[in-house]
Point group: C2
């Protein structure tokens, strides 16, 4: 029984946003994304995978399709398969978000 | 672009634990479970679906397989497909947890 922390401190980088995996199975993954001010996840598409972003710290601008919205801690947004999505820390504090994706785009060999 | 709150107040019941859906697609669902003191989700198994519990408020005892552990806000645990799992609020304060499951056991018709 693997208990992990989803809140707290996670690795950050001055160079780019970081991803820390919390759980992964053949069916999904749960990552923590850390964006320093100015860092972003460029808009991209997953053809067959749905994603949820849950903001746990800070604020940022999230894009889903043609829409963009500023989200803060406690907000979540769905990026369905086939829809362009991304995130950007436009503020001055660290942005942290959980990212769930299913199915796993690169299933681990277990 | 549907933005929802994953933190905050959700429906509770004096009779049993409650489930509030935040997002669902054919590929997964994300629910909020609210357990008043003494309430539980009885141990059960999903043959082909993995689940993650993320505790967002309070404390409770979570079971995965033969193991049981007390989790608090900020903790998360994985219940893989085929493994018995459940949760119980053994404390005196409300327990709130996010539950992410993939694939969706009863996919919505969309």
């Amino acid at each position: 029984m693997k208990v992990v922390r989803w809140a707290g401190a996670f690795p950050a980088s001055p160079d780019r946003m970081t991803k820390t995996n919390l759980f992964e199975t053949p069916r999904f993954f749960l990552d923590v994304y850390v964006f320093e001010p100015g860092q972003s996840q460029k808009p991209h598409v997953h053809d067959g995978n749905d994603k949820i972003y849950l903001v746990t710290e800070g604020r940022g601008v999230f894009q889903v399709g043609e829409e963009r919205a500023e989200l803060g801690a406690g907000d979540a947004v769905l990026a369905p398969a086939g829809v362009v999505h991304g995130a950007e820390n436009t503020g001055v504090a660290r942005l942290v978000a959980l990212a769930f994706m299913a199915p796993h785009p690169k299933p681990p060999t277990v």
